[in-house]
């Protein structure tokens, strides 16, 4: 909701500090010489942050749950692949085109689902899935786009000052993630965001209070599509070989949903948190031949988060910010220095520790602080878990209205 200032000094400083640190990392990497993979790892984190955040401003903020993220991601990826890989464009000019393509796909889909028919939640979700699969099938069959052969990316030119490919991906990935997060932040704290949240909770009431629901939904859909497609276009450089089933498959939607649901869909910070968390876990487990175990664990977390954690981790973190943050920093340093883990391994360990602290029942934490006194009812946890039957009464009312 609107504060008097969009960026209070604390928030602005925080953003600047994080960005400043991240900007120095490639230089630092060259000086100090820690593994280059950390850059790639961070690029992938940026990529997932961008994807998850772009999904979330649509599906988290406005409540229209989409399974069609791949339509934008794949659309952007193919734009860059066709223009760059086939027609020899430089990388940078392909990205705005990718954004336009993503925005167009979103706009057309939005016109269909929001104007022509108002599709309900589940149908909307499956419709977007059908659109993504449909575009995939089209790309697979139409030689102008691909025709099933796949497009090897080769090397695209880009301005030399962006450094080598890894650094270029890193900087551009960071930029996109920053844009995505800022967009999410600004939306959340603006009139636009207030309107979207209202749409999510009760579209009819929102409309009655003066929220131009159709315009807002279209706008956020297009914005989401543009962000995801730009990020997909850049990611084409990382993927190297673009094929329809890779670009329009289920993996991207699954992961962005997972990240946002676990991280929290109602806060700009949620998908960011989810992306860092899930990608770190996946990176540590999947490569090491634990793909199946990883899949089971992630799926279990998805189920648990859906059932018990309606606000995601960010909801909990907002209530209890300090102990987990401190735990994270301490655990990271310990693991890195004493434990001899890699930076990413340390991060995984630290995240684990921080999560444990985050989800310790309040009673325990209080009893640590106050000795043995642990009688009070656990506050917070209720709110974090969210109300189960929020919508019952409005449902009833809607039903009555329709019945009259």
């Amino acid at each position: 909701m609107t504060r008097r200032q969009l960026f209070p000094p604390r928030v602005a400083l925080g953003f600047l500090a994080v960005v400043a640190v991240l900007l120095t990392i490639p230089t630092l990497q060259q000086r100090v010489g820690f593994p280059l993979y950390n850059l790639i790892f961070l690029y992938l984190v940026f990529f997932w942050i961008t994807q998850a955040t772009s999904w979330n401003i649509l599906s988290g903020y406005s409540g229209y749950f989409s399974f069609g993220q791949a339509a934008f991601y794949g659309g952007g990826m193919y734009t860059t692949a066709i223009l760059g890989g086939r027609h020899g464009w430089e990388l940078l000019p392909t990205l705005p085109v990718a954004a336009v393509v993503g925005g167009t796909i979103a706009a057309l889909t939005g016109l269909l689902v929001f104007r022509l028919r108002k599709l309900s939640g589940e149908i909307f979700a499956l419709f977007t899935l059908a659109v993504a699969l449909g575009i995939g099938a089209l790309v697979n069959n139409w030689g102008v786009l691909d025709g099933g052969r796949g497009i090897p990316m080769g090397r695209l030119d880009y301005p030399a000052w962006l450094g080598d490919t890894t650094q270029m991906l890193y900087y551009l990935g960071l930029l996109l993630a920053l844009v995505a997060v800022l967009v999410a932040y600004v939306i959340q704290h603006s009139r636009f965001g207030a309107g979207l949240f209202a749409i999510r909770d009760d579209e009819k009431v929102a409309e009655a209070l003066g929220v131009p629901t159709f315009r807002y939904k279209m706008l956020v859909f297009i914005l989401s599509g543009m962000l995801a497609a730009t990020s997909g276009g850049l990611h084409a450089m990382q993927v190297g070989f673009i094929s329809p089933d890779g670009a329009f498959g289920l993996r991207i939607p699954v992961f962005v949903i997972l990240m946002s649901v676990v991280g929290g869909r109602r806060h700009w910070f949620g998908p960011l948190l989810g992306a860092v968390l899930i990608h770190t876990v996946t990176d540590r487990m999947a490569g090491a031949g634990y793909a199946e175990a990883n899949q089971i664990v992630l799926a279990a977390v998805l189920i648990a988060a859906t059932l018990f954690l309606r606000q995601g981790i960010s909801g909990r973190l907002v209530e209890r910010p300090v102990p987990p943050t401190v735990t994270f920093v301490v655990a990271f340093l310990l693991a890195f220095t004493v434990g001899g883990q890699t930076a990413i391994g340390s991060a995984a360990v630290a995240i684990g520790a921080a999560l444990v602290v985050l989800f310790l029942p309040d009673r325990w934490l209080r009893s640590w602080r106050r000795g043995t006194d642990g009688d009070g009812p656990p506050a917070g946890a209720d709110d974090a878990a969210g109300p189960a039957g929020d919508d019952e009464e409005p449902e009833l009312d809607r039903a009555q209205e329709a019945g009259r």
């Binding site: 599709l119 939640g121 589940e122 899935l129 059908a130 699969l133 998805l302 189920i303 329709a402």
Partner: protein, 293 residues
């Protein structure tokens, strides 16, 4: 003319397989408010069971249905109990069962590895043999699937339409409060539906076990087309499921016969998108509808 009839016949048996696959999903969604993504896992698990029983124990693959159908039913019951216990809403079931789908997929990959498992021809004569009607030939296996599909769909339709249980279910879906007031014990009836839905998954699995080379991910290519049938069919309408499967089957069959075969799946998706835009409720009416939307 002959080629037209042949294409029609091919489309019909394809539709049979699609409707057998989709009927359980449609019932769960329309009657139990569970969009069961794990239906696909149930099918694949049953397919593996058919494979195991046929190769290791030497059963005729068709006979394995006496095992796979109950397994499917049990899985359906288990899921329904889970959904009721945690009071998951429609949308929640989609996410939760998708999680289950991922878990099943990984677990099956651990158990059966990623290797291609295929029933050898000598114990699976159904795969290559055909049913002949005059000059027209259709796959024996798909004909079995079609017979099962008709049995399942018509059976469910009859159950819903003409039995006390079916009346109770329909009444509850329309007016839960009134149905309860007149003595409908929904938790019990919902288990009946969940069991039937699961059993059809088991039957589908046996058919696919004979039809495909099994890998843990093989079922993914069916997701789009099966959801298309469910959405087009109008929820919980067994006859609608058959009708929708017929439409999709024909679209695919005719595309394969008279246009670029690679476009078949695309055409099916295009039909789905167009129909959803103009008739979000599907091509067919829901047999059972909430009184108030």
């Amino acid at each position: 003319m002959l080629i037209l009839l042949q294409t029609l016949a091919t489309g019909i048996v394809l539709a049979g397989l699609y409707s057998l696959f989709a009927i359980g999903l449609s019932l769960g969604w329309g009657l139990l408010h569970t969009i069961n993504f794990a239906h696909f896992s149930f099918v694949l698990l049953a397919a593996y069971v058919t494979y195991e029983l046929s190769t290791a124990a030497g059963w005729d693959p068709v006979v394995t249905m006496v095992v796979t159908a109950p397994i499917g039913a049990l899985l359906g019951l288990g899921l329904q109990l889970f959904v009721t216990t945690f009071k998951i809403d429609v949308f929640g079931t989609l996410i939760v069962t998708f999680g289950l789908f991922l878990i099943f997929e990984a677990a099956m990959a651990m158990r059966w590895t990623a290797d291609l498992l295929r029933l050898p021809s000598e114990i699976n004569p159904y795969f290559t043999s055909a049913v002949r009607i005059g000059p027209i030939r259709v796959s024996m296996l798909l004909t079995i699937a079609t017979a099962l599909a008709v049995l399942a769909c018509v059976g469910v339709w009859w159950l819903l339409k003409h039995t006390r249980t079916g009346r109770g279910i329909r009444a509850f879906v329309q007016e839960p409060e009134m149905a309860a007031a007149f003595g409908v014990n929904y938790p019990q009836l919902s288990l009946v539906i969940a069991g039937i839905a699961g059993a059809t998954a088991g039957l589908t699995g046996t058919i696919l076990g004979m039809y495909l080379s099994l890998t843990p991910t093989v079922v993914e290519v069916w997701i789009a087309v099966v959801f298309a049938v469910v959405l087009l069919g109008g929820l919980a309408n067994p006859i609608g499921v058959m009708g929708a499967a017929f439409v999709i089957g024909m679209v695919e069959s005719f595309t394969r016969q008279f246009a670029d075969p690679a476009m078949a799946r695309l055409m099916a998706l295009v039909v789905l998108i167009i129909v959803l835009v103009f008739r979000p409720e599907g091509l067919f009416k829901r047999l059972v509808q909430e009184a108030r939307e």
